[in-house]
Structures are given as structure tokens and as C-alpha cells.
Symmetry: C2
Subunit: 195 residues, 2 copies
């Protein structure tokens, strides 16, 4: 499965990674903004998949600029330069392409869940250890769910509409995971004594 979108590209036929497209989206929401702001945005977000380290973001901004998707406004800032980024027309086009049908098949075809990956190999463990795993997975997922729900209360749904919609999606998927894990626990508690 390719981690890159095949759909669109820059002037040179370039394609973009998920993180690159995601950053374009973040810029679109709050331009002009600094690389630091983008890092914070990703860091704070509970449902972000990336660590958004400096080593990822600063080179990424340079790539986006080279492809003509963002424009830089430089301000003197002591001995340093503060750089604020905005989308160009080409950048808006790329972002729209990323969000436009047909959505890349690989993107719709899966959700990646590290717990699910592990469950595939539970047959290797003893019944007792299987239960230990499931109990821990359920408990930890519920902790995460608690955090998401607290955030939902704290944050106005009206203001950041699609932020809260996205967060609801994360909650829905985590809830589905818990229900599924519970049913697995139920199942192996019944049949477990055999193995």
C-alpha cells in the first residue's frame, strides 16, 4: 500500500504524503502561521498520528515551498528570521485535490489499529495471557476515550466545527474497538478452557 496520494501533484508531477497534505490543511485553517504553530497543532491534537517533530516539519515546509504550494513572509526577529506561511493558489488546488473524489482507494480501504494487529496473534498466547491482554487493551482504550470526551466538553462545537466532527469520528472508532474487544473477551472466556 502506497503511503502517497496518487491523485494529484505539483507542477512537476510530484505527489504528496499524508503529512504534507495535512499540513496544507492546517495552514488553510489558520494562515498565515509559523512552522511552530503547525507542530503544536499536531502535537496537541489527540487524534494525530504524527509526532510532528522539528526534524519532520521544517524540511517539509521547504518542500512545500519548492513545489509552489506555500508562500513565505519573513520578519526579522533578533538574530533570527520568523517565517509565516500561507497557501498559494497551487497550494489551494493541491489541498482541494486531496479532498476531492475519487479518494485514493488505499485511503478508504483501511483503518490502522495497533491493537487489532496484535489480536491477530493472540492464538499464540495462553488463555490466561489472552485475558490479560484484552483487559489491558480495554482499560487503556477507555482511558483514551475519557480524554476525548473531556475534550469534547471543554471545546465549543460551534467554533471549530470540523475539529469536533473529526474528534467524534475518533471516538466512534475507539468505541467500536472497545465493543469488539469486549465481545472477544466474552468469546474466549466461554471457549477458552479448551485450548
Amino acid at each position: 500500500v502506497s503511503r502517497r496520494t496518487k491523485t494529484a501533484g505539483g507542477d512537476d508531477g510530484r505527489i504528496a504524503t499524508e503529512l504534507e497534505n495535512c499540513v496544507l490543511g492546517i495552514i488553510a485553517e489558520s494562515q498565515p502561521c509559523t512552522a511552530y504553530r503547525i507542530r503544536r497543532h499536531l502535537e496537541v491534537s489527540l487524534s494525530s498520528y504524527w509526532s510532528a517533530s522539528a526534524g519532520a516539519i521544517y524540511p517539509l515546509m521547504q518542500r512545500l515551498e519548492k513545489r509552489g504550494w506555500i508562500r513565505v513572509e519573513e520578519q526579522e526577529w533578533g538574530s533570527r528570521t520568523r517565517r509565516s506561511f500561507s497557501l498559494t493558489r497551487a497550494g489551494r488546488h493541491q489541498l482541494r485535490a486531496w479532498l476531492s473524489p475519487p479518494i485514493a482507494t488505499w485511503a478508504t480501504a483501511f483503518t490502522h489499529d495497533p491493537i487489532r494487529t496484535r489480536v491477530f496473534f493472540l492464538g499464540y498466547l495462553s488463555p490466561k495471557r489472552r485475558l490479560d491482554f484484552l483487559n489491558d487493551a480495554i482499560a487503556q482504550t477507555e482511558t483514551t476515550l475519557g480524554e476525548h470526551r473531556a475534550e469534547r466538553k471543554a471545546q465549543s462545537a460551534a467554533l471549530h466545527e470540523f475539529d469536533s466532527i473529526g474528534r467524534d469520528g475518533a471516538i466512534a472508532e475507539l468505541e467500536a474497538r472497545v465493543r469488539w474487544l469486549r465481545s472477544v473477551r466474552n468469546h474466549i472466556a466461554k471457549v477458552g478452557r479448551r485450548t
Copy 2:
């Protein structure tokens, strides 16, 4: 978020990637087996996240061997060598550590869903394009769900118990995604006229 498990390690304090642990699991299920078999296993699996290219697997097997987690049995095979791998005691230990509480927090804290990532930026699109996106996402996810359900019918649940349990998890999460996307579509159809 680190992509590596912090929990355990080899003799030299090494830690393993998700793919490495996953491969240990695959070997445990069907040892002895060749690197090629492992690639096929990952390739065929609908809920696998990795492409399992030769360039990923062959170096990975060498790493696992160097860490003492797998043992190789070599057979002459014309001008080439056929290599079959089995877990060592240390490999079994590593696999068990991966599957044992406490599960790494980062692993329980998220599910990664490329569609959800995109939904966060739907505010950037016009209401019409939002609907286009949602309709395509719903339709494509349902196609994927159809494939998973067909596989469920075709494959005996009794034989590969945790394979089918894992697949049910993928189905549960994709179903949750569809329900969520439908409610989003519903929501923006009502309120959409404003923006």
C-alpha cells in the same frame, strides 16, 4: 508518537518496530516458513497496513536473525538457497512481551484513519464538495466492507480463529466509520446552507 515498542527488547536492549513484531507473530503461526510466505501473508490480508515488499522483508529477516529472535534452516535450491525461519526462545519471549501488558500507551491511544484525517479539513471545501467527499468516502468504505464480509463467508472461523476475530475487528471499525460519516452527511445537509 514513537512507532517502536518501548516495552521490551532483545539482548542488546534493542526495540522492535510494529512490522518486526508482526512478522514474529506470523512466523509463530506457521514455522518454519520462508520470507516469501510472510510477504504473501501480509499481501493477501485485507487489513494489513504494510505493502510487505521484498525490500522491506528480506533486510528485516536479517535484522531478526542478528538479534537472535529467529533461526534459519538453509536448503540448497539449485544455484540459490532456500531459507526457512523459526522462532528461537528469545524470539518467543519478544513476541510474548509485545503481546503482554502493559501495552505501549501509544498503541492503545489511537486508530489511524486516513478518511478521518481528511474530514478535519472539510471546512475548507464548499458545502457541495463536502457532500461529494462524504458520498465517495461512504461508498468506497462500503465496497471495502463488502469484501471483508465475503472473506468472512469464505473462510472457516473455526480453523483460523484469531484471523477471523481480527477481521471482525476491522469490520467493526469500518462500520463505525460509515455510521459516523452518514451522521456527518446528515448534519451538514441540514446546516450546510449557511456556509
